[in-house]
């Protein structure tokens, strides 16, 4: 029983935290009426997904940090004069890093567009609460 808990529950703690954050952001996006709160929930959702991907790319050998390094080749001569990767050094998987690096910047750009829409909604209706916007829309 203890073994099952350690292997199945504790060893995947990043996934559980990622799920909790994802659902937190999802709840904020649905249930909160304020548009800024919705955007904050969107950001939390996005970071949770990025956390999931970065967890997939990490490698864990043991100990404190344990011999795994960042995906930057250490101790090279300039401009790569036939340097080979050192034996026995384990690098983290760089593919999720590349994907998520662009995802963060594009996420910030889409957040900016969403904020511009919020400003336009405030200029039109005088409020950023969802239900008041619907009331004014139906009243007019």
């Amino acid at each position: 029983m203890i073994e099952w808990v350690v292997e199945e529950v504790f060893a995947k703690y990043n996934y559980w935290i990622s799920i909790v954050l994802m659902l937190t952001g999802f709840y904020a996006m649905i249930a909160k009426g304020n548009l800024m709160k919705k955007i904050i929930g969107l950001n939390i959702f996005q970071t949770a997904i990025i956390l999931f991907f970065i967890s997939l790319g990490d490698v864990y050998i043991g100990g404190w940090g344990g011999g795994v390094t960042e995906p930057i080749v250490k101790g090279v001569l300039p401009w790569g004069s036939g340097h080979v990767v050192e034996e026995g050094v384990v690098y983290a998987n760089p593919l999720p890093h590349v994907l998520m690096l662009t995802a963060i910047v594009v996420g910030a750009a889409t957040t900016a567009v969403a904020l511009a829409l919020v400003i336009r909604i405030y200029q039109e209706y005088g409020t950023i609460e969802e239900d008041e916007v619907i009331e004014k829309e139906q009243g007019v």
């Binding site: 401009w79 690096l101 662009t102 910047v105 900016a112």
Partner: protein, 154 residues
């Protein structure tokens, strides 16, 4: 609303902004450490955010005019797309789009070195210019209140 200029904030901003911009240049050019075009561009845009916070938005707009901003935001993208087309043209149609190793520079020096040079001095700088101009433009547009604007308001 008109705020009185604060001496401490103005002096600290004057001191900080050149160092922030130099750090942004250090981050965006060169591939030895962590960093790249996206981060360098955003840090460069952060220096303009600090300028606007300290000195007000009209003065910030006069430092970086809209015409410059519009030109720079497409210039970086042209850098990036242009080096890709240049790879096709200069290799006489042999290489693919964005294949930096096929540039004629690779016959003079190493092919890997050519690719590294193209990445660090053209591609990353292009990305950084676009990101800097777009983020600055977005911040100015979001922060500019129309009642502060004097000319041309409909």
């Amino acid at each position: 609303m008109k705020k009185k200029p604060d001496v401490i904030i103005n002096t600290i901003a004057r001191l900080m902004i050149p160092f922030i911009q130099m750090y942004a240049l250090y981050v965006m050019v060169g591939t030895e450490g962590a960093g790249g075009g996206f981060q360098g561009g955003v840090v460069f845009a952060a220096s303009f955010v600090l300028f606007v916070t300290a000195f007000g938005i009209t003065k910030g707009r006069s430092r970086l005019p809209e015409s410059w901003n519009t030109a720079l935001s497409s210039l970086g993208l042209y850098f990036y797309a242009g080096i890709g087309i240049l790879c096709i043209i200069l290799s006489l149609g042999v290489a693919n789009y964005l294949n930096y190793g096929a540039l004629p520079l690779a016959e003079l020096i190493d092919r890997a070195m050519t690719r590294g040079l193209m990445i660090s001095f053209v591609v990353e700088v292009g990305i950084a210019i676009t990101v800097m101009a777009v983020f600055t433009s977005i911040f100015f547009d979001l922060a500019w209140k129309p009642e502060e604007d004097k000319g041309g308001e409909q």
